[in-house]
């Protein structure tokens, strides 16, 4: 799941847009950047990005760059909230099922972007503000997270989908004891018995794994490798049998 390459369209040759594009390209996704503001486009060119300049208010041009076509995820990352809202609405009108991620400059806009149909809205300022607060007053936590999860690749957070027939299936979370067997900590779970949203796994006895459930797991890379290895071995073993 993690390594399949998908088509991403990033709208906005802004600092955020370029950073997102960089991160996604690093992860092996196919990224197209578009913007209609000439100065931003030129600046991005100067930084070595290939950006296409299109008229964002023209639906035909949006279709041409893949919206409603082969684009899998759209990022609306312009600097001003109004044009992000407009873009989300246009994109949703063309392709109602397209996941759209946007950013918002203020708290009120978050609601409006969701109303416009955005799948996920990220508030970069709140995240940064909270981060600064953490740096100052919860420095141990900030340092740990910085060093492990957000830093190099020491600890990964990854999601694991429960397949029918895997050794996860039918077990309660506490029975699995992934922490002892693999050095992996189960952080959260999407338990279809409780709905489709993420629940933090603070009560592992409550959650029985069924097909379609998702686990969010944190742990070192080599532990993941062993875990995936066991999962695949079992699956292919079953297929063979």
């Amino acid at each position: 799941m993690r390594n399949t390459s998908r088509n991403i369209t990033v709208v906005g040759a802004t600092p955020v847009g370029l950073e997102v594009a960089r991160q996604l390209t690093q992860r092996g996704q196919r990224v197209t950047i578009v913007d209609d503001y000439k100065a931003d486009v030129d600046k991005a060119h100067a930084q070595g990005f290939s950006v296409e300049q299109i008229n964002l208010q023209d639906d035909d041009e949006l279709r041409r760059v893949g919206i409603g076509g082969d684009t899998d995820v759209l990022f609306a990352l312009r600097n001003d909230d109004a044009s992000n809202v407009f873009l989300v609405i246009s994109a949703k009108a063309i392709a109602p099922d397209l996941p759209v991620v946007s950013i918002s400059g203020s708290r009120d806009t978050i609601e409006r972007l969701y109303a416009a149909g955005a799948t996920k809205v990220i508030d970069p300022y709140r995240i940064s503000g909270y981060k600064i607060y953490e740096l100052m007053h919860r420095s141990v936590i900030a340092e740990t997270m910085e060093r492990t999860v957000f830093g190099k690749v020491d600890l990964d957070i990854a999601e694991v989908h429960v397949e029918p027939g895997s050794f996860l299936h039918g077990k309660y979370l506490d029975e699995l004891s992934l922490d002892e067997r693999y050095d992996l900590i189960v952080l959260g779970v999407v338990d279809r018995n409780y709905g489709d949203h993420l629940i933090f796994a603070t009560d592992p006895r409550r959650h029985r794994m069924d097909a379609g459930d998702v686990l969010v797991i944190i742990g070192p890379e080599e532990a993941f490798a062993r875990f995936h290895n066991d999962l695949n071995a079992e699956l292919s073993g079953e297929e063979a049998g």
């Binding site: 950073e19 996941p99 300022y125 503000g129 909270y130 607060y133 141990v140 020491d154 957070i157 002892e180």
Partner: protein, 535 residues
């Protein structure tokens, strides 16, 4: 010549005399040293002296006091004089001035001139005598004209340390000075109306022509009373001409007063910002280790929100009026101004009592500049800066920032996660937003508590609905029962420690959990410790 030699020798004797220095220190402690323990008692004594002397003065208006009141007055005056001389004495060191002068002339090989030394000495003492406090002291001593002894009340000014507010007085006078032109115009107009009015009333209402006015002075007095709309009515015009003059005078009086009021009000309104900033720095003076937030944009607002939620003191600087207004509306301390101005940072206590500076403006140039200025003012202060471009991070660290934060990088990281792993993204987003009830929290193990020396297995994690992430220990702790550990700057993070991992005091448990669970475990740790102490 012989006399100047004598003076120099005398000065050196004083310089070397311990007794002299001790005596002077004692007087300094009594009169001036704000930290001396005896000071408050002495101040209260002086206050009582002033109040009782004024009381006797007022009492004697209607009652006859015996001879003892005269003695009391003498004692009071003697004490005041002694205090005045004492202050003058400790104000500077005469012998040091003489020695300095002597050594200076010795250095450039010139004959020592006693007269020049005396002149310096006189100038220095004159500085004291002409200071406002000394003048008030003198006014309290001098009056041999009894009613003027009421001036002694001014001594309370000094005793109550009202001069701390001298700055406000200065501000007041600077307001008046700025409006000098308007005030002078108004004053000339007033004088002119007064002159015309008093001459006219004298002309029409003099005693000789059948009116109430006895002389030109009474004319001026009447004109001023009428002009100011006070209008006692002890002198009233009787003739038609006199009444006409009165009417004109009343109308111009109204004009003068409203004009005067509006000048003063508008002048103060212009100065209001300064007065408010002054108040902010006065409020900050009492605090320690507060945070200075430069830039009240969206990031600054979020930080301020968290700080005020935790009731931590902070002050906001922004050059934009709207941003500062918003901060004030939210009840934060805020100053409008450019954070680049080193003076503003100093006024807000950077380099003294401020503990942290955050440079959060949207302009990297400003952030670097403020970081650098702050680091110059204070070696120890913690600086967190925002880098809006990736290249700025290094510059900020060079300029002395402890942390440089790239808002867009974090967003890039998180947004990148969304594409491959939408569910994991949800978890990470929750953690970095800090808005969910479930958060990553650190729980310190108090030394001597029931967990000090216990194992991970003893922590009631599942019962309390907590997910253990890891344990923070000192760097030198072994990592038995731990498969992965990571070294932080001066601590070690033990990821996913096994149930047999031994905990020690001052270790920190990092857990994910509902804030109530976290709070509950913290309370438990405290209570058990208390119980153990009693046992």
């Amino acid at each position: 010549m012989a006399f100047s030699d004598l003076a120099i020798r005398f000065a050196y004797t004083l310089e070397e005399s311990d007794a002299y220095r001790r005596a002077k220190n004692a007087v300094y402690d009594l009169l001036e040293n704000p930290h001396a323990r005896i000071r408050p008692y002495f101040d209260i004594f002086m206050m009582l002296l002033v109040l009782s002397s004024v009381f006797f003065l007022l009492y004697s208006v209607k009652h006859h006091l015996g001879a003892w009141s005269g003695y009391f007055e003498d004692v009071v005056v003697v004490l005041f004089i002694l205090e005045y001389l004492g202050r003058m004495w400790v104000y500077d060191d005469i012998h040091r001035i003489i020695i300095d002068e002597y050594e200076k002339s010795d250095l450039i090989n010139e004959p020592f001139s006693l007269s020049r030394a005396l002149w310096t000495l006189f100038r220095s003492k004159w500085n004291y005598v002409s200071s406002p406090m000394a003048i008030i002291d003198l006014l309290a001593i001098l009056p041999s004209y009894r009613p003027l002894r009421i001036l002694r009340l001014f001594l309370l000014f000094r005793l109550f340390k009202l001069f701390r507010y001298a700055h406000s007085i200065q501000q007041f006078s600077s307001v008046l000075r700025e409006k000098r032109l308007e005030l002078v115009t108004l004053f000339s107009f007033l004088m002119f109306v007064l002159l015309v009015g008093s001459s006219a009333i004298y002309l029409f209402e003099a005693r000789e022509t059948g009116g109430d006015i006895d002389g030109f002075f009474e004319g001026i007095y009447w004109a001023l009373v009428t002009l100011s709309t006070v209008g006692y009515g002890d002198i009233t015009p009787h003739t038609l001409e006199g009444r006409l003059v009165t009417m004109v005078l009343i109308i111009s009086g109204l004009g003068v007063i409203s004009f005067f009021t509006s000048i003063i009000v508008s002048a103060f309104q212009e100065k209001m910002g300064e007065v408010r900033d002054r108040r902010v720095s006065l409020l900050l003076e009492k605090k320690k280790g507060y945070t200075v937030i430069c830039g009240f944009g969206r990031v600054g607002q979020v930080v301020a929100e968290y700080l005020s939620r935790d009731k931590l003191p902070f002050v906001v600087i922004d050059s934009d009026e709207d941003a500062v207004d918003l901060a004030r509306r939210l009840g934060y301390l805020a100053v409008q101004g450019k954070a680049e101005r080193i003076g503003l940072l100093q006024t807000l206590g950077v380099g003294r009592s401020a503990g942290k500076v955050l440079c959060l403006t949207g302009d990297d140039v400003v952030n670097v500049f403020v970081t650098l200025s702050t680091r110059q003012l204070d070696e120890e202060i913690e600086i967190v800066s925002r880098a809006n471009h990736h290249q700025t991070v290094n510059k900020l660290l060079h300029a002395g920032a402890n942390h440089a934060l790239e808002p867009f990088k974090i967003v890039g990281l998180i947004a990148g996660e969304y594409v491959g792993q939408p569910v994991a993204f949800e978890a990470i987003h929750g953690i970095v937003m800090g808005e969910d009830d479930i958060r990553l929290e650190a729980i310190r193990i108090p030394p001597g508590s029931w967990l000090d020396g216990g194992t991970i297995g003893d922590v009631p994690l599942t019962e309390m609905r907590l997910i253990l992430f890891g344990v923070i220990t000192t760097l030198d702790r072994s990592s038995d029962h731990v498969r992965s550990h990571f070294d932080l700057e001066d601590q070690r993070f033990q990821f996913n420690p096994g149930a047999d991992f031994v905990l020690l005091g001052e270790d920190m448990l990092l857990v994910f959990g509902h804030q109530y669970s976290v709070m509950r475990l913290k309370q438990k740790l405290k209570r058990w410790r208390w119980r153990r102490k009693n046992a």
